[in-house]
Structures are given as C-alpha cells and as structure tokens.
Symmetry: C2
Subunit: 742 residues, 2 copies
C-alpha cells in the first residue's frame, strides 16, 4: 500500500501519489529522464489531455516558419502505447483510478508508474510502466509495460506506436515524415527531416512480449506506425512488453535509419535482455553519483533537493558531443526554446568542472566551436574580437528574440538582452579560467580556451568607452544580472567583470608566451594582439569606472541606482508574482527593487572586486533587502555569499528557497522545464558556500559554514586530475583525502 522508506532512501525518490491532474505539467518536468543525448518528459504512454509530451535531443534545432527564432525540435513520441482492456482503451480520464503512483528513482535514473485501473464495465487491471534513457547506450530509450488481469479473465490489446503527430505546441518542424518498413512485426520506425535545418532523424522501436505473442503491424496512419499485441489473460495473469527505442540523427550518424537499426541489434546481441541493460545503466549511474553526490547528514529535505537538482544537471550534460550545450531549461521542457545562456557557464558548469571535468570540457568546447558566431556578432555590432550571443543554439549566432509575445492589449515589448546583456562573453571566459585552474587541462586551454579568453578580451578592448573629461573608461547601454533595469550605464557587475577579464587575459597571454611561444605567436597573428592593443587593456584595467558611494562604502549597481524610488519589499509579502510583473515593465525601471543577485553575484565570483569582508557585508546589507528573486538564479548565489559572511539564517533560507524552485513549483512555471541554473547554483551554494571550498595559493582550501542542522557534509571533487573526498562535520576539523587520479 504505502511506499515509505527510511529517510536516506526517501531522499533518492521522487514520488507522486495519487495522480494530481492539476500538477500534470509540473510532474512531467520534474520526473523527466535523460542521458545527455536525449531528454524525455514524464508524459504518459497512453496520452492525456493538454499534456506536453516531448523527447528532445541536443542540437536538433529548427527555425519554424513565422517564428522569431529557432528552437529545439520535439521528436516523434517514442513511448506511445494504447492499452485496451476488454475493448476499452485505458486512460486516466475514464473508468476509475483505484490507485496511482509514479516514482523517479534518482539513484538509478529510472521512472516507474503503477496504476490500478477499473474500466467503465468493471474490469480491473494492474498496469506498470518503467522507463530509462540508457546511460551506457546513449541512443537507447528502454521501457517496459506490464498488464495484469485482476478480477477475471481479460482481453488485452497493447498497441505500441511512434507518434509523429506531436509538434512544438503547434509549430510543425518536420517534413517528409515516413514510416519505415523494417521487415519484422516487432519493429516500427519513423524517419523525418527538419524543415529549415534539414536534420534527418530516425526513431526505431523493437518491441517483444513476455508471452511470445507475434504482434500485428498497423500501418493505417502514415505518421504513427504501430504494432499490436493481443492476449486473453486469465485472472491474476500478466503480459509484459519490453521496448527498445533507438534515436539517431544526421548530427551523429551518416544514415540515422541504419544506425538506429544497428543500435537495436547491438543492444540485443551485446546485452540481450532488459535487465542486463538496466544493470549496466545503474552501474554507470553509480559512477556518476560516486563523483557527484553530496551527502548531507541531518537535513533530509536539503539532501533530497540537492540530489534532485544534481540529477537534472547530470541527465542534461552531453557525454560525447562537444558541439552542443545545456539550455536554460535543460532537455526537460520547451522553455526558452532550448537556447543556451550564461546559465550554463556560471551556474551549471562548475558542478561538472569539479565532479565530471570531461563533461565540463564538452560544454566549453561548444563555445569554442561557436566562436565564429561570437565574432560575427561583435563585427555586426561594430566591435572587434568575439562577443558571445545572449542566447545561442547550435550555430552560435545570436538567437535572442527581439520581441515578447503579444501582451493582452496586442502590444509587444522589445527584448534588449540580445543587444545589451554583454557580460556573457566574460562569464564564458571566467568559466574557462576556472576550469583551467581546477583541472590544469593545459591541452584544452592552450588549444581552445585561451583563444576564447583573448578574443573576448579583444571585444572588451574595443567596447570600453574612454571618457576623456573624467579620464576613465565607461560601458554604456548595458543590462546586468538585474534585468529589471535595462540599458543602464556602467553596471558594477559588468564593468568589474570586464576589468578582471582583461587582467586575466593578460596574465594568461603572458603564461602562454612563456610556455607555449608558438601558440602565442599564432594567436598574436590571428587575433591581432598588438602591443598597442595590450597596452590599451592595461589602461582600461587601470581606469575602469566602477560606480560607488565612497562615503557609505557601497557599490552603486549602476549609474543612478541610488536615485531610484525606494520601495519597501517587506510590505509586498507573501509575494509570489514577481514585483516587475506586479508593477509593470515601465514602472519597475523607476523603482529600487532588483531582479536577482547582481552586486551579490559579483561578491560570489570576484569578492576581491567588492572588497574586504566588511565591504562585502556592507554591500550585502544594502542589496539583500531590495532583491526580488525574480530570477531562479538568485537565491543560490545569495546563499553562497551569505554563508561566506557567516549569515547562516539568511544563507539557509536562500538555500532552501533555491532548493524548492522546481520541486515545489513556487512560481508555477516548471511546466516549461527545469531551472537548470538554479539546479547548478544549488550545488555551488552547498560546496562553495556552506563547505567554503575554494582555490587557494597552493591548491584548494575550505572555509566551512554549515547550517545548524547539518551534522556533516561529504562530497568528492577533482582537483588537477586527482579526486579528493571532503568530509566536514559540525564538530571536527575538515578532512580531505585524495582518492584517485583522473
């Protein structure tokens, strides 16, 4: 009846029982599975009204007719199945649901769903669904469906299909969808090509039954090939179908159809059974968790939340493809159309840099491979070097839409982030330099990373505006992390990060010149790193303008911020709607309420740019009361900085705020997908904030500030190729030990 576990087991399981149709889309998102190649929402095999089915594969983008920008394409539904009981199709909207439980086992990355269902004539069956996206065979989606007759003999029909009728909420990205002739009643397949990008995709399923029934192909619907199993079950008897689905595209295979068929054959020969594939999958996930799990003793909710967020980072991280990256909503929903933001480099990537450096490298290589897009964007805007797009897809071109969807009055609002949120080029360089320092991956840095760091520095060299009157460099018309205030001048965050960037670029270049002179010479040539240019960088570093109130010793988020109209956010409680949505787009610009960590974000990334601990505290005290957390990126950064300042009540409050964004769907937008940055941020808040892990002069060090209830925290990180286990306990001094070498 119940499914309770000891708390340490409970913290691995995400469950929904009973079925809650009001939370359908939330549930679809949080129970998604994936393996770094594909992501599959937890939509139902049998379908449900208003569901949002989606199987997404990294890199398959298409620009739909009449759409502002390209988006990740929803693939044909590879799990579709209609189960008929005594002539009546199983559905959660008909008959009676006598019981329901869906459980995502995050340890095993395995989703199960059990239903006790009575059809309208009284026939009762137990139906069980199980699915996983194989971590060892990334093109394989594996599933199992069983039906048991309960109150008598039952006529069962199970119709497995691949549903090519799904679209991106009405936008049709497919052309030439064709059912494949696979010469076996146990196999069905569909092939299609994306309309604009021309990406060919094959989805092929092989389905067998426990009873050995030979199914019958049904080709009546040209874009929904199906095969049908029938059985007359005795009372208490069950039938089980096992289904292997292979997905290939022209992004990864010369002929996706051949590749998909071959994948299925390989699955059968190498690992003949469902259980063997599952065991292999679980073993590989055990490796993932060995590297990534953070064990929190004394706080089950935090433990579970952190596993949940880490799970969603891991299922989204590409394992064998360095031409794709993780979108803001991972592969778990349609939000932001699969586009890649700074979310990846500053929020998600650190988890991987420290726990799966090879996966982090894949993501950074995506930025290298799309450097041309950044160079195009700089050139088009009148600058030099490389200026990364605020939103990117597979091409690396800027894909931020310029307009919102029409509002209720028909008007649209101009979106300026693609034009003016320029700190992203530095965010990427910051991530590369952190990756380098943590991994000492010289090969990557010398051949790829440093080129990005330097060419984006070239951009800033051309971008900073010299104000001769004041003998300082300024950066006008920006958007900082606080996106409530658009097109402002001299963002503290942006100017500080850019100054640091130029300085770090000079250091890196000096290092390269000393150790890899030939590569340095090559880059001097290709990036035009003239002495004059480098001299200008020095000048900008020295004279970059950072708005501040020197009397009060606090930074001014941007020019004029202190003059904005104050608002007492404490009165606007218990607010759920963001304050900008309440006040409106025009009014929010005039008010001193900020969207998210901005100066506080700088305090996390570059504390020395803010000042000593007293300065960090003064800035915290000023900015914490005015932040709306209108972005899911905000709470974790606040938790990190608060922990560093030993403000443990605030730190824990912010940590749990971040921890519950997706689990509790506080803002009601989880239907669009997991907040990937919040997920990655939470890990950083735990590791960099509470554990205080940081790079020090001679390696790594810890400065722990554990929440009151946390008896201990244990985790593993890689530092320069060696894995170390860190164990912090509330009482004892920190322990680290080296485990193994990468």
């Amino acid at each position: 009846m119940s499914n309770n576990k000891m708390s340490n087991e409970r913290a691995w399981h995400l469950s929904e029982a009973p079925f809650n149709p009001g939370k359908l889309h939330h549930s679809e998102t949080i129970h998604a599975i994936g393996n770094g190649y594909m992501g599959v929402r937890a939509t139902f095999e049998e379908g449900y009204p208003d569901e949002l089915p989606s199987t997404l594969v990294h890199g398959i983008f298409d620009h739909g007719v009449g759409e502002l920008v390209p988006e990740l394409v929803v693939l044909p539904n590879p799990l579709s199945m209609t189960i008929t009981v005594d002539g009546e199709p199983f559905s959660l909207t008909t008959g009676k649901i006598l019981g329901y439980r869906m459980t995502l086992d995050m340890e095993k990355a395995l989703l199960t769903r059990g239903i006790l269902w009575q059809n309208s004539k009284g026939s009762i069956v137990q139906i069980t669904f199980e699915r996983f996206a194989s971590l060892t065979h990334e093109h394989l989606l594996v599933s199992r469906v069983s039906v048991r007759a309960l109150n008598g003999s039952r006529a069962i029909e199970m119709r497995a299909s691949i549903d090519g009728s799904v679209t991106n909420s009405g936008v049709q990205h497919w052309k030439d969808l064709t059912a494949l002739n696979l010469k076996s009643p146990n196999m069905i397949g569909l092939h299609g090509v994306t309309q604009q990008s021309g990406c060919g995709v094959a989805v092929v399923s092989s389905i067998t039954s426990s009873t050995g029934v030979v199914p019958q192909l049904d080709s009546s619907d040209p874009i929904r090939p199906a095969t049908v199993f029938t059985a007359q079950l005795a009372n208490d008897e069950q039938i089980e179908l096992v289904r292997f689905t292979a997905i290939h595209s022209t992004r990864d295979s010369a002929d996706p159809v051949v590749a998909a068929e071959a994948a299925l054959n390989a699955a059968y020969t190498a690992q003949p059974l469902y259980h063997a594939l599952l065991d292999e999958h679980i073993a590989e996930w055990a490796n993932y968790w060995h590297n990534s799990d953070v064990l929190i003793d004394g706080d089950e909710l935090a433990q579970k939340a952190l596993r949940f967020t880490t799970y969603h980072v891991l299922i989204a991280a590409p394992r064998h493809d360095e031409h794709v990256s993780i979108g803001a909503k991972t592969l778990s929903g349609p939000g932001y159309k699969g586009h890649v933001f700074w979310d990846t480099e500053l929020f998600i990537l650190p988890v991987l840099t420290l726990t799966h450096p090879r996966l982090a490298r894949n993501l950074l290589m995506y930025r290298y491979h799309t450097l041309q897009g950044a160079r195009n964007k700089a050139k088009e805007a009148g600058y030099e070097g490389a200026m990364y797009p605020w939103e990117a897809t597979d091409t690396g071109e800027e894909t931020t839409p310029r307009w919102t969807n029409p509002l209720s009055d028909g008007s649209r609002i101009r979106i300026w982030t693609g034009d003016h949120e320029q700190h992203i080029s530095t965010d990427i360089s910051y991530a590369i330099l952190q990756y380098w320092r943590w991994t000492n991956d010289v090969e990557f840095f010398v051949h790829y990373g440093i080129e990005i760091v330097l060419d984006t520095a070239v951009f800033w060299g051309s971008r900073a505006e010299y104000n001769a009157e004041k003998n300082r460099y300024e950066v006008s018309l920006q958007i900082g992390p606080d996106e409530y205030h658009e097109n402002i001048n001299n963002s503290v965050f942006t100017n500080s990060m850019a100054r640091w960037h130029l300085s770090a670029a000079l250091d890196a270049f000096a290092w390269l010149s000393e150790h890899y002179a030939a590569r340095a010479a090559e880059l001097v040539e290709s990036l035009h790193l003239t002495t004059e240019r480098l001299k200008k960088w020095h000048d900008i570093i020295e004279h970059m303008y950072i708005p501040q109130d020197t009397t009060r010793g606090i930074l001014e988020q941007f020019d004029g911020f202190f003059q904005l109209e104050p608002i007492n956010l404490a009165y606007w409680q218990p607010r759920v709607t963001n304050i900008d949505a309440i006040l409106g787009h025009e009014r929010i610009q005039e008010v001193r309420a900020i969207k998210q960590a901005d100066v506080v974000m700088l305090s996390a990334l570059l504390p020395e740019a803010v000042g000593d601990e007293a300065a960090l505290r003064r800035n915290w005290d000023y900015y914490y009361p005015v932040v709306d957390h209108g972005s899911s990126l905000s709470p974790a950064m606040h938790a990190w900085v608060a922990a560093r300042l030993n403000l443990m009540t605030e730190a824990y409050d912010m940590f749990m705020h971040g921890a519950t964004i997706d689990l509790e769907d506080n803002k009601g937008n989880v239907r669009d997908g997991i907040h990937g940055a919040a997920a990655g941020g939470l890990w950083q808040a735990a590791i960099f904030g509470f554990a205080g892990l940081h790079l020090a002069a001679n390696g790594i060090d810890l400065d722990p500030h554990l929440p009151a209830d946390w008896r201990s925290v244990q985790f593993r990180v890689f530092y320069q190729g060696q894995q170390r286990t860190v164990k912090l306990t509330a009482e004892a001094a920190p322990e680290t030990e080296a485990d193994k070498t990468l």
Copy 2:
C-alpha cells in the same frame, strides 16, 4: 519571499503556499485550531465557494428533523469578515492573488494567513489574518486582521460579522437565532437555541481598531449582526482590527449571553491586550508540549508528523468538562457527526494517560457519566450489566445509524456495528485499567472506574454463550476490528479481550474488597455481584473458545476465516481505494482480506493472549499480507507490533503510513476531519512500539527498537504521579530520569 527554517523549526510549522483551491477542504481540516472547548476549521474570514466552515463545541449535539442520528452542531461563524478595497470586496476568487501563505505554528497553536491581493481595478493590499483559540481562556477565540495599502491611498472597509446562516451541510439545528443588543458599536452578538436538544448558545465579539475608528453597527441581517470599520489608508499605511470572541452555552453557563459578555470584559481587564493573551496562550502551550512533545533526532518528516498528530489530540482534549469526549474526527470536521467510538479509549486516550493524566481522567469520566446509556443498551438487547454504544454522543445512548446513505442505485446498506461490534465495552475497561496502572489514581478507580469495569464484566457474563456439547463459551454474531466481515462468530479479538476483561474484573474486585471493603459491598449490592455470578466469570475465563489452527500455531480471526477465498493483495497495487469499496460489500465478506489490525491489534494490547514471541511472529506473518489498511486505525498498530518483533522495515513503513494519513490525505477523506485515532495511534507506535515503553512488574521499562535513521528519541511520561524523561539514543543504553511529581 520564502519562509524556510532550519529543520527543527520547520517541524513545528505546517504551511500552504501558494493557495491550492483543489485542496481546500483538506487544508481547512489540517490547519484547524482548538483548545479542548472549541474547534475551528481553517476556513477563511472572507468566505470561499464550497467551503466547510465550522466551529464546533464539545457536547452541543442536536438531532435534526429527518436525520437518523444526532450530530455536533455547527455554531454561527464567529470569524466572518468582509474586507472591501476601493469598493471591491476581497475574495480569493476575484482580482489577482499575487501571493499567499497560510501557516499553522503548532508550537504556538497559532494560525496565520497572509495574502497579497490586487483587486480588479489594480489596487493592491497586503492582508494578514491571525487566530488562536485561547488555551488559558477556553471560551475565547482571538483573532487579528490587518490591511496595508500598497500602491496608493486606498479606501478600506472591514465588516466584521457573526454569521448565523451556516448550517450542518443544510441541516438547520438552530431556532430563535437573535442578534444581541450590546450597546456598543464595537460589540456584536448572536444567541440561538438548538432545535431538539434545546441548548442555548451565545457568540459575542468585541472588535477594536488600531486607528481608533468608531465602527458602525449594521443590523440589516437579523442572523448576521455586523459592525463596519472604514478607513482611508495612505500608501504603505495599515489598519489592524483585534477581535475577541466569547462562546458560551447552557451546557456551561446559566446565561450564555451574560457569560460571554463577562468573558470579554474579563479578557479586557485581566489581560488588556491581544499580545498579553497570546503570550499567556503560548506559555500554556509550552506546558502542553513540555509534557507531550516527542523529540526525534534524525528524521524530520517523522518529527513533524508526530507533532502534527499530537497537536490534533491536544486541541481536541476537553480540559474542564468530564461530560464530553473526543469524537472520531475530533472537532475538526463533520465526519461521523462528532460521535465517540473506541477510537477514543484505545487510540487517543493513551497519549493523555501518559502525558496529561488529568485530561485522560476527564475522558474516562465521560464514560462514567454515560453508564446509564450503556445499561439501557444492554437491557434493551436482553443482556445484563452495561454494554457501551458503538457510537455515542452526550447522552450515552447508542447513536450508530442503522443505515448508510442511499447508494447510487437508491439502495441502502444495513450498518451492523451498533448491534454487533460489542468489544467496545471491553476497550473502555481496558483503557480504565491501563489508566489506573499508569496513574495509580485510586480515587478515580474506586469511585468510578471500577464500576465500569465490573458492570461491563457483568455484561460479558450474560453475553457469553455456553456450548454444552463442546463445553466451551462462544460469542456469536460479532464484528471485530476487521469490519469487512460482519456478524461473524467467535472473533479471536473479541473473545480474547472479553476473557481478559472478566479476569481483570475479578482481580480488581478482589483488590477492592481487600482495600475498600465498603465500596466493594456497595458495588456487590448495586451490580448484583453474587458469588454465583463471579463463579460463572471464572468458568467463562477457563472455557472461552478461541479459534485457532494448532498445527500451524496461528489464531483464526473468526470461525471460518481460513476457509475464505484467498486474494493476492500484492497484485492490487498501488491501491488507494479500499479493497472493500473495489470488490463491493457482498463480495468482500467472502474474501480473505481484512480491514485493519485485528489479531495484530490483540498482539499490541494483550500479547500474552497471542503467545510467545514466536507465536506473535507466526500470527504477524499470516495476517500482515492480508490486511488492507482500510481503516486509518490500522497502520500505527502494525508499526507497534512490528517494532516489538524487531521487523524494522515493516515497522517504519507502517509508522510513516500512519504519519501521512492526514498530512497527505492519501484517501481523500480528510475534508471530514482529522483521523483522531490514527493521530493517537502514531504516538503509541512511537512510544510503545519504537521506544518499547511498557508496564513491568516493578514499574515501567523500555524495550527500544529505533528506526535506522533515528539517532535519538526523547519524551516525558507520567508514571504514578511522577514525570519521567526518557532519552533513547541509537548507541547508548536507555536513560530515564524523574522530573517532578504530579
């Protein structure tokens, strides 16, 4: 924004955010407040469609016209308030909810609700409600409402009323509802009399504002007296109303109106302010929790659940009235019409016997005061002595309805529990004897308790049927705890409990004769305790028939149970609907699936009646797989017995099943009220099961079996007038220490 707390604080707070209209009735029930005199569901001051508002006061029953049985009467709503913002009444169904949070602080027994609301014209206000049922002034319900203008100056009207239009879901129990003339614009009141029982009730409110505004009485609706406060608030300004409501009835006061007015005056003079009353209330709750809180270290969910269940026991327990008892659904909802079952004595009472013995005594005195009802029932059925009603109200007469409500086909099912679930008389005697052993309250036992024990023994003496052929006593036509099987013969539970009862009665009578001869003589006289009668008790004890399979060494729940058709409940998963509802009332009788702990219940109460540990285990192994947990009473008893048998996975599973019945509303029936027995049972599972606290030859002893994650458990119990603190840790030997004398 968020309201996160360290886990030890979180385990005191029950929160709902955002507003979830789909869980309205569940939320109303679980967030109920009370003080042992009244219980108030967490319905909204402003009203909501389809809400179930109810303020219930112990003992105010009325038999409605056309109804099968009497029920607790819903009082006029004493918290009703309409708040108008710029001419538009505040409602959660209009305008926009920009934020919502309701929190029950269980430590303080204080309910708060905050809403950020925008009316349809754009006016935004922050509204905060707070309420508590004073634990120190039990007739007083105290509340506070504040409204703050947020985006401009706002015209606010606050109309406080007492709503006499509420009914028991359409059944009108009131006559002569009259608004009182209280000669102050700050006071409103309503008086009414119940139709059949003739109980007079007065509800009087005194309301004052923080701004000193003089309100205007509105007498336009004769059964909804109101007073109206108006204010023009500047931006960011707030107005606060404080409201004291006194409730009196002719059950407690000669003139309820005079008493209610006096209570308000007393509240004002003795404790002039809201905060003073609140502080006093919190201090008294600190005493309650000092006695009752079970501190679990290592399992926040269990900790919170156990606080939640204990809270609901405490708010329902009458403090100053020994003529009432706690209904199966406490005072938190309409379920079972407020009737009192065995739930009180066997499930709820032990919590109080050990942690608040004076409250336990009140409940047992209720059974003493209603002994005449039990005597009437025995006589009417053709038996001697006292036979307690299966369902009881204030009168002590049997009030079990004989029929269900009409089913969909118009038919009704006969309810037999009032006729045949006769073990309740023994359950009450068991509770009395346990109370006596734990408290050594000789005064109670000699004057009251023993009379119940003996007169219900007299009943069993007349009830047991001698089978001359087999030289044994039998009890036919019974319903045991497993109510799926009705009108069976020789329930192991009932026969074993009755046998024990007669034996315990003989022992108690011997003790009384030795120590209180005069009282013994009095009872010999009044109860006709002839030598012949006592001799027959001995004979019954010796020859009571207990069905069993001596080969397998297991008890047979009742005659013929082993011959019932087997059903594999493991296949009927994940079942939520009870198996009897699935199979139907006729079919369930034929099937070997049981409703709840029956032989297992006996294993908890009288393990020696089942046998040694091996026998207990054999019976567990047989009965555990066939139990449906179709009653909320079941899981906790299973947890207790499983812990005793050191089956810790099952014990913890059952404990958490019991823990989540009301919190998660697994069966969807929490709208009808808290499952009081499940609440009390959970405490017993923790204390008698996991801690293994039990009476021993020379006092009390512990036999701990803690769940794997529980680092320690700490609690206090009274034993024979002395309070002891028990602390169990996973590693160390148990500690108990004496604290203070009662």
